[in-house]
């Protein structure tokens, strides 16, 4: 038995059951043209996604975008006008994507119609001559009527069409159903993405030990929301960070890599929770994630009258894996204004070549290197300033000092600066992603659809009784399927159910 060689005409018949010749041609033509477009659109989407993965994106980091622009002034304007720094929100990317979605809809709807028509219709009539099929054979089975064979086939899940002296059975309708479900699910996922883009919000906030956060926009360090977001969407909650625990690898292998970090928080004043990386807590759909951490040295500044003019834990942003961190203190109330620019090193050594560096992220030998500035902080200029940067362009340096915890520095102009202790801070991401459930449903449906769409093959088997008899123990059998389907196995299985036994084989004509 060989099913390998099936003529082109027969093959197309299995894929596209023709209703009539003209209709078949028209349907085929439409299918071909739009399939071609779909393929090209897919390739366009792939191409269009590339620049956004190579150039910095505003959605990820505005700072990196600005750095890139200052480094490449020639291209900055051109790329900006092409939305290359916001590729996935750009008009041209959306345009290709929307075209693709229209193409899917235009493709799915007519096919859905054809599918249901096909579903209601019985399989086609058996061809009058089946001896020309390469897998044609004449076999001896138990004595059955065609009617009985049909019943057996139905029990085995075949769709059947009975003629006078011939029977066509068909399987694999779930292929097209799976395929349609898959493409439909892509639309669901797109809707979910769009929904998320409109209503979602996300913000980040840095919280020091023993301080708190309550969920209002003004308390966020950075807050982004979709176009239709409104502030009443924010659920009411607040929390304080009691304690932050971090552990680093101390052995030679991957020395300094974080091994554990967890934040102990009190939610809404009464609920004590340990928050871990990868394990957010969920408050009516809004999730709180622990995303990072660092050190917040406590610095106190007194003026010449021994008045405390500043005393607080200051967030120092980590600059490398060993937590060399930088931070600033701004004291705008003095005249002239006062600023401190500092580097904090949790495990400080002074390298003869590169100067002070940290060699380990834990607090083994914490030290702070400060420089004190006096002048105009520029905070009243109206331009919004980073709290992590000191603009020293209108200031003069009046001193430099290195301090360990507990040490005090008697600086210029009677200022007394002390480094009291080191606290930690944790950074949190708070996010609401309303489309996520729908997206997951879409993704699961797509998976299921795809498994049927790719895994199942449509195939037909024709069975004939010898001339004029309606019941016999000799039948003629042949079938068609796509080349990558093992039709022989189907035929053999069916024949086994009919009592076929290899030794009883009558003949192989052709």
């Amino acid at each position: 038995m060989t099913t390998k060689q099936i003529s082109a005409k027969q093959r197309t018949e299995t894929v596209l059951p023709p209703l009539n010749f003209l209709g078949f041609i028209r349907w085929m033509w439409r299918q071909l043209t739009s399939m071609n477009t779909a393929l090209l659109l897919l390739l366009f989407v792939a191409l269009a996604a590339i620049p956004g993965s190579i150039l910095p994106q505003k959605t990820a980091s505005l700072i990196r975008v600005n750095n890139w622009k200052t480094e490449n002034p020639n291209l900055a304007n051109l790329f900006e006008s092409l939305s290359f720094f916001d590729v996935y929100g750009s008009v041209w990317f959306s345009a290709i994507y929307i075209l693709l979605m229209i193409s899917i809809i235009g493709c799915v709807i007519p096919r859905l119609k054809v599918y249901f028509e096909n579903w209601r219709q019985k399989p086609t009539k058996t061809p009058s001559v089946i001896t020309k099929f390469s897998n044609y054979q004449k076999v001896k089975i138990n004595k059955f009527s065609l009617k009985k064979i049909e019943e057996i086939a139905i029990r085995k899940g075949w769709r059947t069409f009975l003629n006078n002296n011939s029977l066509t059975i068909e399987k694999g309708f779930s292929r097209e159903a799976g395929n349609l479900l898959f493409h439909f699910s892509l639309i669901i996922i797109t809707v979910a993405l769009a929904f998320g883009a409109l209503f979602s919000y996300r913000g980040t906030v840095v919280v020091k030990e023993n301080t708190g956060f309550s969920n209002t926009i003004t308390q966020y360090d950075d807050f982004r929301a979709g176009r239709f977001f409104s502030e009443i969407q924010l659920p009411n909650f607040f929390f304080t960070l009691n304690d932050f625990v971090v552990d680093f690898e101390r052995s030679e292998i991957q020395r300094g890599a974080p091994r554990k970090f967890e934040a102990n928080i009190t939610l809404n004043g009464d609920e004590n929770i340990n928050l871990y990386v990868n394990k957010p807590i969920n408050i009516s759909g809004t999730k709180i994630f622990l995303t990072g951490h660092g050190y917040a040295p406590v610095i106190t500044v007194k003026d010449k009258n021994n008045q405390i003019i500043f005393s607080d834990a200051v967030v120092f942003l980590p600059q490398d894996g060993n937590f060399s961190s930088t931070g600033v203190v701004k004291i705008p109330d003095t005249n002239p204004q006062l600023g401190i620019e500092a580097r904090f090193l949790p495990t400080a050594i002074v390298d003869p070549v590169t100067g002070p560096t940290s060699t380990f992220p834990a607090l083994d030998n914490p030290e702070i290197f400060m420089s004190l500035w006096q002048g105009d902080l520029g905070v009243n200029s109206g331009i919004s300033q980073s709290i992590y940067k000191l603009d020293t362009s209108k200031m003069t340096q009046i001193g430099l000092e290195e301090l360990k915890p507990g040490q005090t520095w008697n600086a210029d102009s009677g200022f007394v600066i002390s480094f009291d202790e080191v606290k930690q801070f944790a950074s949190f991401q708070i996010a609401y992603e309303p489309g996520r459930f729908l997206a997951l449903v879409g993704a699961i449906l797509a998976m299921v659809g795809m498994i049927f769409g790719l895994g199942v093959q449509r195939r037909k088997i024709f069975i004939k009784m010898p001339t004029k008899s309606s019941s016999s123990n000799v039948i003629e059998i042949a079938g068609i399927a796509k080349e990558n389907h093992n039709l022989e196995k189907d035929i053999l299985k069916l024949l086994n159910d009919l009592g076929f036994n290899k030794t009883k084989k009558v003949s192989r004509e052709i």
Binding site: L39, L42, S53, V87, L193, Q254, N278, R436, A446, L454
Partner: protein, 272 residues
């Protein structure tokens, strides 16, 4: 000798045997159908498969976790997946002729892993400690293994179209086989992308953020979707399909080497 070094030794052995196989498979390619040389090369490939599995298990034991926590381990796992896919398919099908196209990328990848990506095994950084790592990465590795096979087949197809390599099967067979490989790999790759999105939602609060790594996973997915379309689009089957297979694989390689190493994003491994 610690487990780490023992594991490395098995990787070195594998590279050595693969180098030998490079010669054997090349000779076999010039010969008539089945022959002794091919059989020897196939047996040696089984040995490579065994050694790589042992190397991975040793790494896993040394680190007490699944052995794909950094780029080095991921590269070794992927090569193992390629070799094993090839071997298991070869039980049922006569695909020895593919040997050389498995051997060449395997040597290159293992070489890069050993020279460029090597890191001692160690525990995971907290961000990677998740069951999702296991699910997400193992499915990626399996589909990468199968896509590699498709890549080899696509190259053979194009070589064969341009000059008639005698010892290879017919164009039609190569074409069908490479299609079947994608039929297997694509749903698994889709699953890997979805599980990645679920994990991202769990870890960062968004399931899709166009991070460079995610973007290239998407590009890869789209190219293979285009490949599947090309199989039913008139004028695309055959040569163009094969080129799409190569493009898809190029996206995978780009994602692994270029994006992991040169582009900063959220997805970063411990030690390169």
């Amino acid at each position: 000798m610690n487990l780490n070094n023992l594991s490395n030794l098995f990787v070195y052995f594998s590279i050595f045997i693969l180098a030998l196989n490079l010669i054997l498979f090349s000779i076999a390619l010039t010969q008539k159908k089945k022959n002794r040389i091919t059989n020897i090369a196939m047996s040696l490939t089984w040995l490579v498969g065994l050694f790589l599995v042992i190397a991975l298990i040793l790494r896993g034991i040394a680190a007490q976790r699944a052995p794909w926590g950094n780029m080095y381990e991921f590269a070794i796992s992927s090569v193992t997946a390629v070799v094993l896919t090839f071997l298991f398919v070869s039980i049922k099908k006569n695909i020895q002729w593919l040997g050389i196209f498995i051997t060449v990328p395997a040597i290159i990848l293992l070489g890069l892993a050993v020279i460029v990506l090597y890191t001692e095994s160690g525990p995971l950084v907290p961000a990677l400690k998740s069951t999702w790592l296991w699910i997400h990465v193992s499915s990626a590795i399996i589909s990468y293994g199968a896509f590699s096979l498709n890549f080899g087949l696509s190259i053979i197809y194009l070589l064969k179209v341009n000059n008639k390599l005698k010892s290879l099967p017919s164009l039609k067979r190569i074409d069908e086989f490479s299609y079947k490989v994608v039929l297997f790999a694509f749903p698994i790759w889709t699953f890997s992308v979805i599980s990645g999105a679920v994990w991202a939602e769990n870890a960062w609060g968004r399931y899709w953020g166009w991070d460079p790594k995610e973007t290239w996973a998407f590009i890869t997915w789209i190219i293979y979707a285009a490949y599947l379309h090309s199989r039913v689009t008139i004028g695309w089957k055959g040569t163009k399909s094969a080129w799409l297979g190569i493009a898809g694989y190029a996206a995978i390689i780009f994602n692994f080497f270029v994006i992991n190493i040169w582009v900063t994003g959220l997805h970063s491994y411990a030690g390169i």
